[in-house]
């Protein structure tokens, strides 16, 4: 999706996920999430067992999609993905956890399930918390995916100034991620 920022890309991805759901292209839908699922499971499980966990997450999502769940688009598919990741990782070592049905997030009473999923926090929101100079560097780096030398050229700065800005941004990014 050239020309899109990562933030607008997020909206675009949600729309694309909904389109895939509506068209029944359910194999492409989880495929876009495989890397996120795998990486999150490895980080949450603190090691290679995360790859096994990720496979279960993918399988669970796949089965639910095949059973026709989530087609109403009530929740963005990404919310469902992150919910299932949390559920499977948390229960991985509990005996019999996989015999229980997944939380009925599509049910009318399923609103609470989003409580541990960040629906609104996006990288764009992080960028606007930064001072203007660093914010511009962060926007080009995080939202547009430019390299440091490209950012320097775009902003008419020395590359070293961009690296220094990135150092400051990283400190703030960490605080934001930990908040």
């Amino acid at each position: 999706m050239p020309g899109l920022t990562h933030s607008s890309m997020r909206d675009a991805r949600d729309a694309e996920d909904n389109r895939l759901l509506e068209n029944g292209e359910i194999d492409l839908l989880p495929a876009g999430w495989v890397e996120t699922i795998d990486s999150r499971c490895v980080t949450k499980m603190r090691g290679p067992v995360g790859h096994d966990v990720a496979q279960v997450v993918c399988l669970r999502l796949w089965r639910e999609l095949k059973d026709g769940k989530h087609r109403d688009g009530r929740w963005p598919f990404r919310v469902i993905v992150h919910q299932v990741i949390g559920y499977v990782c948390a229960g991985w070592y509990e005996k019999g956890w996989d015999e229980d049905p997944l939380i009925e997030i599509d049910s009318p009473t399923g609103d609470d399930f989003t409580s541990d999923v960040e629906l609104q926090l996006t990288l764009e929101e992080f960028v606007v918390t930064l001072p203007p100079g660093d914010g511009e560097v962060a926007r080009l780096w995080l939202l547009e995916g430019l390299e440091a030398d490209q950012i320097a050229e775009r902003l008419g700065k020395e590359p070293n100034a961009v690296y220094q800005a990135r150092f400051r941004i990283n400190t703030r990014l960490r605080e934001w991620l930990e908040s």
Binding site: M1, H6, S7, M9, R10, R13, D27, L28, P30, A31, G32, W33, V34, E35, T36, D38, S39, R40, V42, T43, K44, R46, G47, P48, D52, Q55, C58, L59, W62, R78, H82, V117, E118, L121, T122, L123, F126, W141, L142, G145, R166, N170, T171, L173, R174, L177, E178
Partner: protein, 191 residues
Amino acid sequence: MRITPEQLLDDFVDRWTRGEPLAVDELLSRAGPQADELADLIDAFLERAPRREPTADAIAFVRSLDAPPLLRARQARKLKLDDIVAGLVEKLGLPENAREKVRRYYQELELGQLDPADVTASVWVALAGLLGRDAKGLAGVQPTAVSAPAMYRDADYANDLPEGALTMSLVAGLEVGPDEVDRLFGVTSSD
């Protein structure tokens, strides 16, 4: 100089913005004692970031999800059936002429046609080595509280068999009764 979680997070974000493989395992390994700290940061980042374009491998993986787990694990390792068979024969210390039967039993196990509960620990350990995964779990066998130590067979395969059995069942290809391969895969009759 010790690398900090911030530096590794920076590395991770660069990979993410460039569309490169994220290789989180490697980053966590580099973080050493600060791996927990880094893991939380990466996890929080991924929870807030949009997904990337699916790769061809990811699409193939999802399309394979209907396949039995052992088969998926083998495909994930890009191993052919013959690769697994050769590995099992070697790791279990079986003679070359046992390949055909090992192939048949493994294929049945992979496709869910052979009861995994009767398969011996040696086979599961060998498969775990080949697949890099807990093959027993993949096959749907519930873990037991106390598991028996896994044992590999030595290459002196004929020593444990009744005199003449090797000649009759494997060397000559005649299956007159349960042999070592049957025992390993928990098959009581060679039908």
